[in-house]
Each structure stands twice: as C-alpha cells, then as structure tokens.
C-alpha cells in the first residue's frame, strides 16, 4: 500500500466511523460492555505506541537509548501538569542533548 493510499484510506475510514454515530440507532451501541471496550481500546493502543516508540530499534529489537531518558523527562513533566507542547519539546531537547553528548 502506498503512503497516499494509506493516508486516504485512513481518512475515509475515520470519517465513516464519525458519520456512523449520526445514522446508527443509539440502542445498537448502548451498554456497559461497549463503553468499557471503547474506553480501554485507546489506552492499550497509546500505551503500546509509547512502548514501541521508546524501546524498540531497527527490526523491533529492544533498545535502551536517549529516547528512554527523554520519555522519563516527559513523564515527570506530565506529572507536574506541564502542557502537552512543553512535554513534547522537553523530550526532544533531552534526546537531542544526550545525542550531542555522544549517547545513541
């Protein structure tokens, strides 16, 4: 799948999901189990993305490098209630400085 195909497919599917909410009868999706699945799903997906982006290198091998330190800094910033953009910039700066200092 080319990048453009992926971009457009993801966009169409995202819109279809949004639109379904407006046309599907509410009772189809009501229920505690649906609510639990839909709140748990983004947690698992985002946590998995954090883990993969932080700890894996080429070919998916486990790697401990500047990214882990940067994410540590990001978590501290989040605990201190820093805004999203500050968290992201702090992580980038941490990784950039560590690499400047010779870390991989």
């Amino acid at each position: 799948m080319s990048t453009w195909t992926a971009v457009l497919t993801a966009s169409v599917l995202a819109f279809v999901l949004k639109y379904l909410g407006y046309v599907v009868p509410a009772r189809w999706l009501d229920g505690e189990r649906t609510t639990r699945v839909t709140s748990a799903l983004p947690i698992a997906l985002l946590a998995a993305l954090v883990a993969v982006q932080t700890f894996t290198g080429t070919g998916g091998a486990f790697v401990l490098d500047a990214r882990a330190a940067a994410v540590g800094v990001a978590l501290v910033a989040l605990a201190l209630r820093a805004p999203f953009i500050v968290v992201v910039v702090l992580a980038a700066v941490t990784a950039a400085l560590l690499r400047l200092a010779g870390m991989s």
Partner: protein, 255 residues
C-alpha cells in the same frame, strides 16, 4: 430552553471556552506537522491527514507507525481506525443534541472529535451545547490545520529528525495523549500490559502489528475486568491538559 435565544453573556462564555480549547489544541498541531514529515510523509500528505482524517490520536498513531517504513501502511491504517472508533460514539451523543440533516450532518460528523463533543455536551442548555460544538469543532479545525502546515514546513527544513530528538518527541506525544486516561488502577494495568506485549512481540512482527496485538489486551481486560471506571474522562475546557482532536474523552460520557 431549546427555543429560547441564548443570552449574550452565556454566548460569550461558550465562545470563550471554545476559543481556549481551539488555541490550546491547535498549538500542538505544530508537533504533529513536524513529526509527520520526520516520519517520511510529505507536506501534502501531512496536511491531508489534518484536513480529512482530523482526529489527533489517530493522526499521531498513523505517522508513528509509518515512521517504521512503508511496510507498516496497513497496520497504520488499522491502528488509526481503531483509535477513531470512539468518535462514532461521540457522534451518537452529539446527534441527539444537534439534530442535523444533509450537508450539515456531514460537516458535523467531520468535526466530531473529543474537544467539540466535550464542550458541546458539557453545556446545560441544548442551545449552548450546539454553539459549543460548532464553535469548538470549527475553531480546532482551523487552528489544527494552520499549525500542522507550520510544523510540516519547519520540520521539512530540519534534516535528520534524530538530531533534534524528534523520534523521542513522538514517544512523548503518545505519553501526553495517554496520560489523561490513566485515571484508574485498571486503566494503568491495561496500559502496562499493552506496553509489555507490544515490546515483546516487536522483534517478531512487522512494524505496527505489535500495537494491534496489544489492543487485544484492552478487549480482554474490558470483557473480563471488573468495572473499569471512567478512565477516559479528563477535565476539559480549560485547555490545560494535553488534548489533541480526538485524544481525550468528553467530560461527561452521556448528555
């Protein structure tokens, strides 16, 4: 209440809330733009994601997986789509509030994200709710797209993204999206299990697939876990928590 016109003071109040959410959210459209070009997408592809896909969590996930190479395209689409499922549920709530048909319904659907839903359903009166939804959705759309373009253009000039720590910034962005959802012990447990599963599988699966497999941890937890309460309900409207379009739950799950 529905038929009565909104008092000017209430109107200003709702619009101010919408504006603050739009500016706060738009501000890190800039990080999306930069991360997207760092992941190998061009400026046009990046901008089309913000215009058409328009759901922050899905967009960050999409480019995050595409960064692993074009082999991850299918997984990128799948992950983006799974993250977009909750927008459908928001639509369900917002549809009752808006009562729109035809073209306006298509437009409303496109603007149905965490922020617009949150501001909309948080208003006590239906009229204010409708104003809140449209103002927030439209405001976030404009700010998010403008900042995406800025981020993409700047990011394009940078060269090797690793030099600037942009790979770490991507990981931090996912942390920022995840953080407001970790409100319960169950939510935290799901996150840890999913993270471990993804890392363990990563060496043995193509890019993006570990994330999808980890999503099953969520489904299992949701089916067997006991009452995993309200993890997706960060406070909203004050623009202080890291919220991208489509990344944090509305304050109230039901209107």
């Amino acid at each position: 209440m529905t038929a009565a016109a909104l008092e000017p003071q209430r109107r200003r109040q709702v619009l101010r809330q919408a504006a603050s959410v739009a500016v706060a959210t738009g501000a890190y459209g800039i990080s999306f733009g930069a991360l997207s070009v760092a992941a190998g997408l061009d400026i046009w592809q990046t901008q089309v994601l913000s215009l058409l896909l328009f759901s922050g969590g899905s967009q960050f996930a999409f480019v995050g997986i595409m960064a692993g190479g074009p082999t991850g395209a299918v997984a990128a689409v799948a992950t983006s789509t799974l993250l977009g499922v909750r927008n459908g549920l928001y639509g369900l709530q917002v549809a009752r509030l808006l009562e729109v048909r035809g073209l306006r319904r298509l437009l409303a659907a496109q603007l149905t994200i965490d922020e617009s839903t949150a501001v909309g359903v948080a208003q006590p009166e239906a009229r204010a709710g409708r104003l809140g939804f449209w103002a927030t959705g439209g405001g976030v759309f404009v700010c998010w797209n403008a900042m995406t373009l800025l981020g993409a253009v700047v990011g394009d000039q940078l060269g090797d993204p690793r030099t600037y720590g942009l790979d770490a910034a991507a990981a931090a962005a996912f942390c920022g999206l995840l953080w407001p959802r970790l409100k319960s012990r169950d939510a935290f447990a799901i996150a840890v299990v999913a993270g471990v599963i993804a890392v363990v599988i990563a060496p043995h699966a193509p890019a993006g697939v570990p994330v999808l497999v980890a999503a099953f941890a969520a489904l299992i937890a949701a089916f067997w876990g006991n009452a995993h309460r309200d993890p997706a309900a960060p406070h909203h409207g004050d623009g202080e928590d890291g919220a991208a379009p489509g990344t944090t739950g509305p304050r109230e799950a039901r209107p």
